[in-house]
Amino acid sequence: MTTTERTAGATGRRVEDGSGVPLLEVRDLHVEFRTREGVARAVNGVNYSVGAGETLAVLGESGSGKSVTAQAIMGILDTPPGRIPKGEILFRGRDLLKASPEERRKVRGRKIAMIFQDALSSLNPVLSVGYQLGEMFRVHQGLSRKDARARAIELMDRVRIPAAKERVGDYPHQFSGGMRQRIMIAMALALEPDLIIADEPTTALDVTVQAQVMDLLAELQREYDMGLILITHDLGVVAGVADRIAVMYAGRIVETAPVHELYKRPAHPYTQGLLDSVPRLGPAPHPGSGRRELRVIKGLPPDLTRIPSGCAFHPRCPRAREMCRVGEPLLYRVPGERRSACYFWKEVVGD
């Protein structure tokens, strides 16, 4: 990636603390996996930053590299087959990739915590939830079993699990999907981290429960003034909570923008295609005209072992021209604190 200017916060909220250093900054991160078919380049030069109290949504389809980036930040990437050939992950100005495993362990959980998608497979089925929540305190703070249990009850209260005292000894399967996700949130909150990475936190939940969980997450974030990286493929979930959005495609960020601008006037054809392809809940724009065919993005996301030359989106892009096949577009600056990796962003915005 050749962009030297880094994307700064665009929401007017506190992105940097007094020292002028953002909470977390990812610089030119590359991740690749060795597979039998060749080297799969999952992340190809990602840059983003999050400040305290800010919510950054990372949006992308499966295989766009959004979860792999998160795993690299957390330091839970499987290596091998994964490898980070290049890049920096700066947490409060310190590069985590250069830190020793011992130092990283201190950051993980205590400073940066993660909420996983599937609560049922992320919790240990043979240990009670109280024990699993208390583990955070026993391991990181050296509390006794009894104290850890009391703290676990406190946490369960905080994420509004009814009758926390009675339920602390229950096992994960005894909770409903929404409650399990609350336990995951409680676990991430346990040590009051500065940054939470939520990887598809509500994808496995029903809409009514999804709304409960997202509201809880947003409220706790405000309360603790945490930074939040929300990884999702759902354009709807993002619209409600994010301050800023980064759209990923084939391991690159193709567009970043404050949330309102992105939905109003996307500056990258991929974002535009995504927004056009979701059916809307509201009445059809032209009543009586019958069903409107959904606009689609033709083709499929690329195979990561064979990413197309130039702009990775060009084989699917309605605007692709010769230059798109040859050179990889930079993340161009677009008015309104935005960026777009498209040569023709002016035309896209003008649509």
Binding site: Q212, G236, A239, H260, S277, R280, L281, R291, E293, P301
Partner: protein, 355 residues
């Protein structure tokens, strides 16, 4: 749109209880999971009936009952006037030719050890009258072409295809016997957003081309609105509201439908800030022990004593009966009202946002 048309499928009081047993050798029944508990609806020629609801509300069980993959505990399903729940053997096979299914997960619903040609062609082994033996390969290639796949892929295996392409194979298999009805159980929920739209467009195209009737089961309300002519909303084994897509989406009268619609994440930050959201408290109760009276009352902000004792029937509410407006559609609520908050604004909002 349904005027004067004959329904192709009539469902009457369909019930499916799964027994809960205790004991190893001598099993005795200690209760039942009431997955589907008395559902009635009609499906007309060429229309799409959407069925929405949260997980565990019984919508997939309905799909299995319509396909006769599960035997109904009680109730009838009439296909062209014939009750198919009583059929077996040859008669059932003949009916099944006309009712086909597209499954949710294109990764597990295709046999990984069979080629695409075998997967689609297998239907002709069971119903040889549709395509004579020598003709099958050509027929399969035709089907692949219809669903937008390259006919030369006939010898490939499922793992060589992407999720969207696999779902196309599943649709081709559903189409193979020229059925009249296709039951789609969450056909696009396992697919990426940009691929979902492709599959939805394909299904609409095929419907127009072959005059198919769809029962479209999904939890994504936006997609259901897009594809459906009529929509039924299920909660805990019951149909709580049914009507045309406009009636359900723009004039819902059942509080559950209202809450469900307000919880849908809308991909537009501005529209979101303006609208009122109802956040339901708690979870769906267990279908093994559903609440008495109205099943939604434990999460409903309008619930009164009457709701605990009297089961509300799915019917056009008395007070809307004479009006011609879209409010007059079937809704199973004692206090059916168009807007969630007009009745008791303060109370409704307070109890509803307790979250």
């Amino acid at each position: 749109m349904t005027d004067g048309r004959e329904p192709v499928l009539q469902v009457r009081n369909l019930v499916k209880h799964f027994p809960l047993t205790q004991g190893i050798l001598f099993k005795r029944q200690v209760g039942a999971v009431r997955a589907v508990d008395g559902i009635s609806f009609d499906l007309y020629q060429g229309e799409t009936l959407g069925i929405v609801g949260e997980s565990g509300c019984g919508k997939s069980t309905v799909a299995k009952l319509l396909m006769m993959l599960e035997r109904a505990t009680a109730g009838e399903v009439f296909y062209k006037g014939q009750d198919i729940t009583k059929l077996s053997g040859r008669a059932l096979k003949a009916v099944r030719r006309n009712i086909q299914m597209v499954f949710q997960d294109p990764y597990t619903s295709l046999n990984p050890r069979m080629t695409v040609g075998d997967i689609i062609g297998e239907t002709f082994e069971i119903h040889p009258e549709v395509a004579p033996k020598g003709d099958r390969r050509r027929k399969v290639q035709e089907l692949l072409d219809v669903v937008g796949l390259n006919p030369e892929y006939i010898n490939r295996y499922p793992h060589q295809f992407s999720g969207g392409q696999r779902q196309r194979i599943g649709i081709a298999r559903g189409l193979a016997l020229n059925p009249e009805i296709i039951i789609c159980d969450e056909p696009v929920s396992a697919l990426d957003v940009s691929v979902q739209a492709q599959v939805i467009n394909l299904m609409e195209k095929l419907q127009d081309e072959f005059d198919l009737s769809y029962v479209f089961i999904a939890h994504d309300l936006s997609i259901v609105r897009h594809i459906s002519d009529r929509v039924g909303v299920m909660y805990l084994g019951k149909m709580v509201e049914i009507g045309s897509d406009e009636e359900i989406y723009d004039h819902p009268t059942h509080p559950y439908t209202q809450a469900l619609l307000s919880a849908v994440p809308v991909p537009d930050p501005e529209a979101r800030e303006g609208r009122e959201r109802i956040i339901l408290s708690g979870d769906v109760p267990s279908p093994a022990n559903p609440p008495s009276g109205c099943r939604f009352r434990t999460r409903c902000w309008k619930a009164q004593d009457k709701c605990a004792t009297e089961v509300p029937l799915l019917a056009v509410p008395e007070r809307f009966k004479d009006t011609d407006s879209p409010v007059a559609h079937e809704s199973a609520c004692h206090f059916a009202e168009e807007s969630a908050t007009t009745a008791r604004p303060g109370a409704a909002r307070a109890s509803a946002t307790r979250g």
